[in-house]
């Protein structure tokens, strides 16, 4: 009897049976997941850098502890995701190597600079908001370890967006200068945030296969539209203006229409020509290299202790 593994695999997907690490899977499914999950993990880790910039300069202790906790969560999220990716057969060191050599990508949003305190508000509100929109459907993704990691991430992420929005709200209720600072942050972060959903569906060649494998549940354009639709009223509450003159409600579609995205800018940042690409990668490489002696010392200490234990067992 001939068994078609690929058909069996697809049947499991259709029945919403999760795929687990040691189950048979098509090589391309493994590779697609490995690329997506490691890219996601790298984004969490590199994503700590723009915010790390403001921890020591937070305006008060309440803001400081919240920002510290958020950045610490991001380290944790990176770890959940690296662990999920490792179940697909790539070592942690290899993933880090791919990040450090520029072979692996991370979300291009983190290649923009954080110029003012209001950027902490805009990042939490918009960047985390867009990330949540992407991540919630991933809690039901077909690969078990990825789905479980995403459940944890989403649970923790909701405070991130609320803390960002609260920063924006406080600035908008403050002096003229503070409100202007909030508007300036929105102006700079709006377009990069809606680019986070990736290329238009017509230009996203891998999307159809990922949808068939139920790695993805919604297309890039669907998620982007959803994000814009919910963000407009949040902006109105703040009394700010979204920097898009073409943004208006379309009664017949039941959605907001919006202006053309500057894909040239997006492609440039992805290709490494964004404002902070070099700075971000250098910071990661430096952290890895400067941490080498700590990793080595811990390994040496663990070995010494293990030997001591073995010797004392032998003596007894």
């Amino acid at each position: 009897m001939e068994i078609n593994l690929e058909e069996q695999f697809q049947a499991k997907i259709e029945q919403e049976i999760k795929i687990e690490p040691r189950d048979w899977m098509p090589e391309k499914y493994r590779k697609t997941l490995l690329r997506q999950i490691s890219q996601h993990a790298h984004s969490e880790i590199v994503g700590m850098l723009p915010e790390g910039n403001w921890i020591t300069r937070a305006p008060n202790l309440r803001r400081k502890v919240a920002l510290l906790a958020k950045v610490q969560d991001e380290a944790g999220h990176g770890l959940y995701l690296y662990s999920a990716a490792e179940t697909l057969g790539m070592s942690r060191d290899q993933m880090l190597e791919e990040l450090h050599t520029g072979k692996a990508k991370y979300s291009s949003i983190f290649n923009y600079p954080t110029l003012t305190w209001a950027d902490m508000g805009a990042i939490g509100w918009l960047v985390d908001g867009a990330a949540i929109m992407n991540q919630v459907p991933l809690c039901r993704t077909s690969y078990g370890p990825y789905a479980r990691a995403m459940v944890r991430v989403c649970k923790e992420e909701s405070f991130h967006q609320r803390q960002g929005y609260e920063i924006m709200l406080t600035l908008c209720k403050g002096s003229e200068a503070q409100k202007a600072m909030a508007q300036d942050a929105l102006n700079r972060w709006w377009w990069p945030s809606i680019m986070m959903f990736g290329p238009n569906d017509d230009n996203s060649p891998n999307s159809a296969q990922s949808m068939k494998w139920k790695i993805k549940r919604f297309s890039n354009d669907e998620l982007r539209q959803k994000f814009i639709d919910v963000t407009v009223s949040q902006t109105e509450i703040l009394g700010l203006t979204i920097p898009d003159k073409d943004l208006k409600w379309n009664e017949s579609r039941g959605h907001y229409d919006f202006g053309t995205i500057n894909w040239e800018e997006f492609n440039n940042v992805v290709a490494g020509k964004g404002p902070c690409n070099k700075e971000r990668l250098n910071a990661r490489v430096k952290a890895w290299e400067n941490g080498a002696w700590v990793r080595d010392a811990a390994t040496a200490y663990a070995e010494k202790r293990a030997n001591k234990k073995n010797n004392s067992t032998e003596a007894a």
Partner: protein
């Protein structure tokens, strides 16, 4: 530089007294002390646990997924192990 990757550990957390430890994920650490401390920082930042177990992943043994059907087959045709298999009069209460 030794360039040696720290071993992988599986983490199990008891959410509160009275519950069993449940697998929550994995992490790398040089030894068991570091594994427990890292597990605390990564998996219990919001009071998710009162007790942590860590086991080096290499010590976990598992059945082969491809032989799953045969392995679990013996339990497949034994409905009499469930209480609903038994036909009892309706007037019988509390059984």
């Amino acid at each position: 530089m030794t360039n040696k990757e720290w071993p992988l550990w599986e983490v199990f957390i008891r959410a509160k007294q009275g519950l069993n430890h449940k697998h929550v994920g994995s992490l790398h650490a040089a030894d068991q002390t570091m594994a427990i401390e890292n597990a605390r920082d990564v998996y219990t930042r919001r009071m998710e646990g009162v007790s942590i177990w860590v086991v080096e992943s290499k010590y976990i043994h598992a059945n082969e997924p491809s032989e799953q059907d045969a392995l679990f087959d013996p339990a497949n045709d034994k409905v009499y192990r469930h209480p609903t298999f038994y036909i009892l009069p309706e007037e019988l209460n509390h059984m």
